[in-house]
């Protein structure tokens, strides 16, 4: 993202949700965004995913300038390159875990048999291979979130956008989700996560702080092993 701003409303009701934010997320990098409510965290995420367009500035995903694409091309890029994990999981109750995971591929026109194979692979990679034929209401909160992450990564999508992905999970289930996102990044995916929990943000390579739509600070990026020694 380069100098991205997003305004909502006009005149007296004008709100600067985001002001001149520049942010890069490299392949294999895990970036967490923190800030108080109304600081622009969720706006940042919807812009990065092409679900909304900036008032000014430029957003590039996997080499493509989102603003320069037409609506159809933008939504194709979104489906092909970007995976979303939201707090409210949005699994469809009438579909099994595998069917939920394969849905985005089917919407993209993939053949059912191929989509199902990819769904099983994605489920296995998040440690949920044995849950494929269960319905969402037969799964715990942590298991549902695993399925949602499998859906986000199916077809090898390289950019993961996560909005409070640990939601109401207990601390153990929340940590499992963090380990999962961390290992996806270690395998080369890029992940941008919004959270208000510093304990979860700390799994990221870099933590950026938003306030009133501006980026006010950031921890340094990945560091060598020598800094680990300071931890004790």
């Amino acid at each position: 993202m380069r100098d991205v701003s997003r305004d909502h409303g006009t005149g007296a009701g004008l709100v600067h949700a985001l002001r001149n934010v520049s942010l890069d997320v490299a392949e294999g990098e895990f970036v967490a965004v923190m800030g108080p409510s109304g600081s622009g965290k969720s706006t940042l995420l919807t812009l990065a995913g092409g679900l909304d367009t900036p008032t000014s500035g430029r957003i590039t995903v996997a080499g493509a300038d989102i603003g320069a694409l037409g609506a159809a091309a933008r939504s194709a890029l979104r489906r092909r390159a970007v995976g979303y994990v939201f707090q409210d999981l949005n699994l469809i109750p009438a579909l099994t875990a595998a069917e939920n995971v394969m849905l985005p591929r089917e919407l993209d026109g993939a053949r059912a048999r191929r989509a199902r194979r990819q769904a099983h692979k994605a489920l296995a990679s998040v440690g949920a291979g044995d849950l494929a034929d269960r319905f969402p209401d037969e799964l715990s909160g942590g298991q549902q979130q695993r399925v949602a992450i499998a859906r986000a990564i199916i077809g090898d999508r390289r950019l993961l956008l996560a909005d409070e992905p640990t939601g109401a999970l207990d601390s153990h289930a929340g940590e499992e989700i963090m380990r999962l996102l961390r290992s996806r990044c270690d395998e080369g995916a890029a992940c941008l996560m919004v959270t208000h929990e510093s304990r979860h943000a700390a799994w990221a390579d870099r933590v950026v702080f938003l306030r009133d739509g501006r980026m006010v600070d950031s921890t340094p990026g990945r560091t060598g092993p020598e800094t680990l020694l300071e931890a004790g």
Partner: protein
């Protein structure tokens, strides 16, 4: 940090040499609180004086084996059953710094909070990397004990970030401070150097 109770808890598992106690203490706390052997022996001699441990024989090199007494076992049970008081902690420099920042003119409290929060989050990231490098479910008893100590540091660090978030919201909500009271013994119309005459 109660070295005394830590050593007693180890001795409740069976008699041990002083150097063994030191090694086991450090292993179960992940070397977070390194002990020198002098601390171990001075603690043992106090425990012996209080009749919570006894010395039983020595090896060829004259090193003593220590054994817990029934009174010592009662002491350990009591320790595990009693919550730790927070009142014994030293004054918190960060709380004092923020209190001063709020009342000192010309200090941007939000900036103080933000600088601290970034630093605290770095610490939290470092601790989390140490945790991430270990297996999710450690099989070894010692590794499990170390995990609990590490997580105690993680949760305390997280609590500091939450408190800083709260301070920031509190400062943003409250009106700018009234002008500070003039310094004592320094009338506003007299230069400071002349007040002693």
């Amino acid at each position: 940090m109660s070295i005394r109770h830590g050593l007693l808890a180890l001795l409740s598992q069976g008699p041990r040499y002083g150097y063994q106690l030191r090694a086991e203490f450090e292993a179960s706390t992940g070397s977070s609180w390194p002990l020198n052997i002098g601390q171990v022996y001075s603690t043992l001699s106090r425990l012996e004086r209080d009749e919570l441990v006894t010395r039983v024989g020595a090896d060829d090199e004259g090193r003593f084996v220590y054994r817990i007494t029934p009174a010592g076992e009662a002491d350990v049970r009591e320790w595990f059953a009693t919550p730790v008081a927070r009142a014994d902690r030293p004054r918190d420099e960060l709380a004092i710094k923020l209190a001063m920042a709020v009342t000192t003119p010309g200090v941007d409290v939000r900036q103080v909070v933000q600088a601290q929060r970034t630093a605290t989050l770095r610490t939290l990231q470092d601790l989390t990397r140490v945790k991430a490098a270990a297996p999710a479910d450690p099989a070894d008893q010692g590794d499990r004990a170390w995990r609990l100590v590490l997580e105690s540091m993680i949760f305390q660090t997280e609590a500091e970030v939450r408190w800083l978030d709260h301070c920031e919201a509190f400062v943003a909500r409250t009106a700018p401070a009234a002008p500070a009271a003039p310094p004592a013994d320094a009338p506003l119309d007299a230069p400071i150097g002349e007040t002693s005459r």
